[in-house]
C-alpha cells in the first residue's frame, strides 16, 4: 500500500466534497428554474467573455514579465508581483475605484480620457487582469525556466535582443505552455468575486447592459434577490461550475502536454 498516495487522494477528496455536494443539490433536490434563467446564463456569459479577455491581456502584457523573471534574477520585481495576491480582494476593487474616481486627480484625468472603470466592462476586465496576472506569471515562469536556454543564447549571439529572442525563439516553441497558463489565469478570473463586486457589480455597456458577473449574480440570489433565492443560488452555482470546470481541466491538460 502506498500511503503517500492514499493520504494525498483522501486530502484532495476532502477538498472537493463541498463542490460535489453543491453539484448534487444544485442539479438534484434543490434544482430551481430560477437558477438557470436566461439572465443567469447571460451573467455567466459576461464572466466567461471578460475572463477570456483578461487572459488575453495577461498573455500580451505579462508573458514578457514571466520570461524576464525566468531568465533574469530580479528579486524585487518577483516580490512586487505577489502584492495583489496577498491583499484581500475587495481592497483591489476599492483601489481601482479610487484610481478612477471623479474625486481624485488620477480619476479626473482618466475620466477626461473617457476611461471609466465603475460599472463598466473595462473596469471588470481591469480587475480580472489584476487578480489573474500573478497566477498567469506564476504558471508561465517555471515553464520558461525549464526550457534549455542554449537556442536563446545562440540567437542573442547572432544579435537578437532579449525581447526579440522571446518573440522569435521562445514563443513559437511554447504554444502549449502559453495556452495552459492562459486557461489557468482565465479560470482564476472566472472565480473572482471580491474586487468585481465593488468595481463592476453590474456593467452598463452593450452587449451586457445591466448584467452582473456570474459570481455577483449568485451572491445576489443567495441574498434573497428573488423568493426561493437560495435554491436558485445553488442551481446557478452548479451551472457555473459546469462551465468553469472544462476550462480548468483544459488548462491542466495542456500543462501536462507542455512537459
Amino acid at each position: 500500500m502506498n500511503w503517500l498516495r492514499a493520504v494525498s487522494i483522501a486530502a484532495v477528496v476532502l477538498l472537493l466534497i463541498p463542490i460535489a455536494v453543491l453539484l448534487y443539490y444544485g442539479l438534484g433536490p434543490f434544482r430551481s428554474p430560477a437558477g438557470y434563467t436566461a439572465a443567469v446564463f447571460r451573467s455567466i456569459e459576461l464572466s466567461v467573455v471578460a475572463s477570456a479577455v483578461a487572459a488575453l491581456i495577461d498573455f500580451g502584457l505579462f508573458t514578457p514579465v514571466a520570461y524576464y523573471l525566468a531568465r533574469g534574477n530580479d528579486a524585487i520585481v518577483e516580490s512586487l508581483i505577489d502584492i495583489p495576491v496577498g491583499i484581500p480582494h475587495p481592497i483591489i476593487g476599492v483601489a481601482l475605484l479610487i484610481l478612477d474616481s471623479p474625486l481624485t486627480p488620477t480619476g479626473q484625468f482618466l475620466l477626461f480620457l473617457g476611461i471609466n472603470f465603475f460599472n463598466t466592462i473595462l473596469g471588470l476586465v481591469v480587475a480580472l487582469v489584476v487578480m489573474s496576472a500573478p497566477i498567469y506569471i506564476k504558471a508561465m515562469q517555471p515553464f520558461f525556466e525549464s526550457r534549455d536556454a542554449s537556442a536563446e543564447e545562440f540567437a542573442m549571439g547572432l544579435g537578437a535582443s532579449r525581447m526579440r529572442t522571446l518573440v522569435s525563439i521562445v514563443l513559437p516553441d511554447s504554444v502549449s505552455g502559453v495556452v495552459s497558463a492562459s486557461l489557468i489565469a482565465m479560470s482564476r478570473a472566472l472565480g473572482e468575486f471580491g474586487s468585481i463586486s465593488i468595481i463592476a457589480f453590474y456593467v452598463l455597456q452593450y452587449p451586457f447592459y445591466g448584467v452582473s458577473p456570474a459570481s455577483v449574480t449568485i451572491f445576489q440570489l443567495f441574498n434573497g434577490a428573488i423568493p426561493g433565492g437560495l435554491n436558485a443560488a445553488v442551481t446557478a452555482s452548479a451551472a457555473m461550475i459546469l462551465v468553469a470546470l472544462p476550462i480548468t481541466v483544459a488548462g491542466h491538460f495542456f500543462r501536462r502536454r507542455s512537459r
Partner: protein, 201 residues
Amino acid sequence: MIEARLRAHAGHFRLAAQVNCSGVTCVAGRNGAGKTTLLRAMAGFLKLDEGHVIVGGLDVTRLPVEKRGVVLVTPGSAIQHLDVDSHLIWGRKLVGKRIQEDQVSKVKSELGIDFGGRVGKLSLGMRERVSLATALLAEPKAILVDEAFASLHDREEFIMAYGRLLVGARIDLVFSSQVASDGKLGDNLYLIDEGVTTRSN
C-alpha cells in the same frame, strides 16, 4: 582576433584566463577544467570579476551579448521550430545582411547539409551542422563552439572545412575539446586546467 584576459567565477569555480585567438583556436582540457566557463565568459554570459574581452580591436567587456558579434554554438543551439533553410539564414536576416543564394548552397554542400525539414525533428549531429552553418552565414566577428562538433561523424574533416570557410569570411573560431591532439586542427592551442589557461604552441 579575440583577446581575453579575465578573472571570473561560477559558483565555487574560479577562472583565470589569458587567450589571444586569431584564426582557428582550440581550447583543450578535461571535464570540469573550465572550457565552457571560459567560452561563456568570452561570449558575455558570465559577469567578469576583472579583466577584458576585446573582439576585432573593440573592447566588448561592457557590451551585452547581442552587441558583441560573438556567437556561442552548443549542441542545444538549434532553433527547433524553423525548417532547415529558414534556420540557415535566420541570423543573417536578423542583422540585415543580403542573402546570397550561391553562398548558402556552398556552405550547405561544404558542411554536409543535404537534408531539410523541421530542425527539431533532425538528429543531434544534423542540428549541430545547421547551427554551425547558421552562425557562419551570419558573419559575426567570432564563433565560439562548445562541444557542438562532438556528434559529427566526420568530426575532423568538418572542423577543417569549417575553419577554411571561416578564414575566408574573416571570422575567428574558438572551439573546446577534450583532447590536446585537436590542436593540430587549428592555428592555436590553449590548454586549460582548473580554470587556468596556458598556451601550448
